[in-house]
Symmetry: C2
Subunit: 608 residues, 2 copies
């Protein structure tokens, strides 16, 4: 299919193609000689794909679009404070080449006018002028992701005719904004303006800014993210000469234009745009460039103050462990107790990007319920990204809850909050890789607080096991005789996926989990079983390999009915086989019931 983005860009391109307004810059012959109706549009994504339409590979000189990039280099070399002592960041309302400083601060008003740009060039570090230019060119090349050429002819013309800029240099020297030979700084500025770029290069330079200073193709970090914010802010208020306010209202993107006919625009976090067409309007901005950016912003909804939604909660769902129990098969008495005291628990499922406002809503909801909460699970698996402040707020909320005696668990398999799954560390601050383990832990907290003698629950006699308790006397005695009691240690593998059936296991104490491991080595827990439950029935009856890994979560005691003994029973006691099969069918039914409840959990509310 023709990619729909290409179609959108093509429409914008065609609409602007008829526009022949404006004049090519003519102050030096090299600029006057370019094909006036060249026109190219590029959009580069933050994963490094570039959409191109028109003349996107023809070189032209970068001119004033160099300003934010040299300013960025000066910031990186000298720091924000030192640069701020030399260059203000206020929109000037004056032409870009005005020979004046702010009357109050006696500094260039911003780095996007020539006085500020020459000052920025003077602040770039380097052993000598040649070294400094080498660093500037290397920096631009790193943004573009390829080695950029220097256009000697344009430089020679600029250097020959640039008296106004030399005047600005001497003015800067006379106010001690520049403390060295001002001609060196001005010469450096001429050179940086004479670097050749293509429309494609510019889009990748913009995408590097959009991508927080990391070149999306080479993955090189070109600029610290703090400084990206500063550079984009200045582009937003001062980038489009004296049309900056209208640009921001209409297009709503930090941008910079150059007299060579280029414009770059940045949508932070999303894309870099470049347009090239040499005819300029009275502000010195490319006519088709402005038209195309305006259309792209409108068509692609790129205005950076665009808000798509009215409001939305970061808390996707909240429920108790009574409403959505874990997949752990628990004795009926425990289940009933959990139904009764479940309101002391709360599971919060968060989603979306968690910035301040999202974290605030979640933390507020927890604080409101705090007085009756005993166990809380915070599930961040559906959260896309967490800001530092949001992480801090969630950490504070968790420790506040823990300080009140409330157990807190985090479900965070990707370590989004910077903490990894840890061993059992008591009731505060556990981290789980899956929701079900957290739910199970949450239930355990409630049972410990509200249940009768926890120890007694954990151990049953063989005759108390439901599998035997349901049988008549002679059948039970027979089974008791043929069952072997075995012990397993924590983390023992009781059965491995793919191995032959090894028996029916009746758990008398401890816990066993069934798990599968996927191709990425991630272990998924299917279910946890405890005293009074059984496993191994299906492989045994159907004589198929084990479908899961079965692993001891604790010390485990189990009574085992081996395949040989089962065959014996089937051959000689059909009544006992039917009784066993009925018990096993009942177990399968319970599992279906739990699966049902988990459907409800993934849905929107409790069953009616």
């Amino acid at each position: 299919m023709g990619n729909v983005v290409d179609t959108l860009i093509d429409r914008v391109y065609r609409d602007a193609l008829d526009n022949h307004d404006g004049e090519v810059a003519g102050y030096i012959p090299e600029l006057a000689a370019v094909p006036a109706d060249s026109f190219g549009i590029c959009i580069a994504t933050v994963d490094g794909y570039v959409y191109e339409r028109g003349d996107t590979r023809s070189p032209f000189t970068i001119q004033s679009i160099s300003k934010p990039f040299t300013y960025a280099l000066a910031l990186a070399d000298r720091g924000r404070v030192a640069v701020g002592e030399k260059i203000d960041v206020e929109p000037s309302g004056e032409p870009f080449n005005e020979i004046s400083l702010d009357p109050q601060t006696e500094r260039p008003r911003n780095p996007m006018i020539n006085a500020g740009a020459i000052t920025a060039a003077s602040l770039v570090a380097g052993a000598d002028p040649a070294d400094r230019f080498r660093r500037i060119r290397a920096a631009y090349s790193a943004y573009a992701g390829r080695e950029l050429d220097f256009n000697k002819a344009v430089y020679a013309s600029e250097a020959r005719t640039g008296h106004r800029n030399r005047a600005i240099g001497h003015m800067l020297r006379s106010f001690d904004i520049i403390t060295e030979d001002p001609d060196d700084a001005v010469d450096l500025y001429f050179r940086q303006c004479s670097i050749d770029v293509t429309c494609r290069d510019l889009s990748l330079m913009a995408a590097t800014l959009a991508n927080n200073g990391v070149n999306p193709v080479t993955s090189a970090t070109v600029l610290d993210s703090d400084l990206v914010e500063q550079v984009l802010s200045v582009m937003a208020t001062c980038g489009m000469y004296d049309a900056a306010g209208e640009w921001l209202a209409d297009v709503g993107l930090p941008a910079k234009s150059g007299v060579g006919g280029g414009i770059v625009a940045v949508l932070p976090g999303q894309i870099g745009i470049a347009v090239y067409s040499p005819r300029l309007d009275r502000h010195g901005n490319s006519v088709r460039g402005v038209q195309a950016c305006r259309a792209l912003s409108r068509e692609l909804e790129l205005h950076f103050l665009h808000v798509t939604r009215a409001s939305r909660s970061s808390v996707r769902a909240r429920y108790t462990v009574a409403e959505a129990p874990s997949r752990m098969r628990r004795p009926a008495a425990e289940r009933a107790l959990l139904d009764e005291v479940g309101y002391h628990s709360r599971v919060y499922e968060l989603h979306g990007d968690l910035l301040f406002a999202g974290a605030e809503a979640a933390v507020r909801e927890m604080a409101n319920a705090e007085s009756f909460l005993e166990a809380v699970v915070i599930d961040v698996r559906r959260v896309d990204d967490v800001g530092d402040v949001a992480a801090t707020m969630l950490a504070a909320a968790r420790s506040d809850l823990a300080a009140q005696g409330c157990g807190v668990a985090l479900v965070d398999p990707d370590g989004l909050l910077g903490e990894s799954a840890s061993d059992l560390t008591g009731r505060g601050g556990r981290v789980f890789v899956d929701l079900d383990s957290a739910l199970q832990w949450c239930e355990d907290v409630l049972l410990e607080l509200h249940g009768p003698e926890a120890d007694a629950r954990q151990q049953i006699a063989l005759s108390e096991h439901p599998m035997l308790a349901a049988l008549g006397e002679p059948q039970r005695t027979l089974l008791e005789e043929v069952l072997d009691t075995v012990r397993f240690h924590r983390d023992d593998c009781i059965a491995a996926r793919g191995t032959p059936p090894s028996g029916l296991f009746l758990i008398l104490s401890g816990r066993v989990s069934s798990t599968v491991t996927d191709a990425h080595g991630v272990v998924h827990r299917i279910m946890t079983l405890s005293a009074g439950m059984s496993f191994g029935e299906m492989p045994l009856i159907l004589r198929t390999p084990w479908l899961h890994d079965m692993r001891a979560d604790t010390e485990v005691t189990a009574a085992v009915l081996s395949p040989q003994v089962y065959d014996d029973i089937a051959a000689h006691r059909p009544d006992l086989e039917v009784a066993l099969l009925q018990r096993l069918a009942a177990g399968a039914y319970e599992q279906l019931d739990l699966a049902l409840r988990s459907v409800v959990r993934s849905g929107v509310g409790p069953l009616r």
Copy 2:
């Protein structure tokens, strides 16, 4: 717990409390008389919660903070074009009360300086001056969510001393920017500046702008979202007098300050901030207000050009129906065929906010795979929000794929893309409410394209049913005799959750789904069964009520073993009962296998 947000705000508050720099505005006695060290901070969320610290309920006059709100009203009354003919939107670099127009355009440079604000007031619609003021006050009140008072004493003083503003009025009249009596417009401006607000009011006014023009408490739509963008853009470049550039670089929030000591700041989509403290700096901005906003922006990461992540794909997962099959129980031959041809299918799970860049990445991925795709499922259940352009792009990509003969299904239970679940409409453009139905459809598309005679697959004889085929001759004959064959129509309820067991159903043709309905009335499909499968075994064996609703998806033929007949068999033919129970256990085992595969789907990759 002390809410962590309160703690954060408290720290910012305490840090600024020691700052006694600056002077209270003294040009009229009413302003000079306020308590100079009053200090309040409010943060209002887009769901209407207000954090408050300090003097947040004391009234003071709104002064220049009125400007964006009157400008908004003028935009709503007259439209952007008409207002744009009267007021520019360029930062001025001049004091706010300059008696001058832009020399080129002969218009006030922006609506945040007095000349622009008076012009905006003159553009508010109304029968007469009193009516226009009534409308202004009503508008401000709608932003604040309560009826705001008019401070007559401040108004009287302003009116008595406001010669400079009268001069501006006459200048505007002489340039035909104002076409009526300029004193009326200036008087209206004095009145709007004299409306009393509290810090809390201002935070809600800001939150209304943050919330796309909808008051988060009253839910009243106060301003069209298009105009919100325009107002915020102007606040971003011109809101903080001649410190706008520095403000944007440091704080990075559209804002407006007033000589009464208030500042409002807006983080679009997230929060509204208001600070009140009367001492002003040399720009006319509240000293503590600026300090507090700067600290809040830094501490809460509110800079609107802040990018938290480098880059992230909007495509959360992509896989084939061979890697993650539907929960539909299919005959082994179909399953094998799907394993073989599954690579012609692709499921794309999208997530996050889908704006241009996110939709672009998804559409690009589809276009790249297009040449070998026959069935595609696009799952947008984890997408938080979709911009108009993203919706258009996905629609275009879907119709492009369909035009190439590829089946396309959308999983969109919330109608995020503006389409609701429709009936079967062929292989292009179906919409499903759950992923599993879409997977099942996707498998059907592949089976139809690659499988042998589809019709033959759909119907089996009773003797071919696996339940009978697995039995020996005399047992099978016996069962065939006691089974009744029944027909159901599409959408018939075959069994209802909670009703007593009604038999074992062996499906001979058609499809049956098991579903549950949650408390919100949402129907969750558990599994779909087809010819050769059975249901009803568990209720029958355990004599418990039906756990699911069973519903005919198509015309269905089934053979039924009633509870009475089953009891008969159990009483007289234990060999047959064991054989049946073994078959049923095998069925349960198959279900577990499918459940396992669905665990893998919710995870990260195929099983190893």
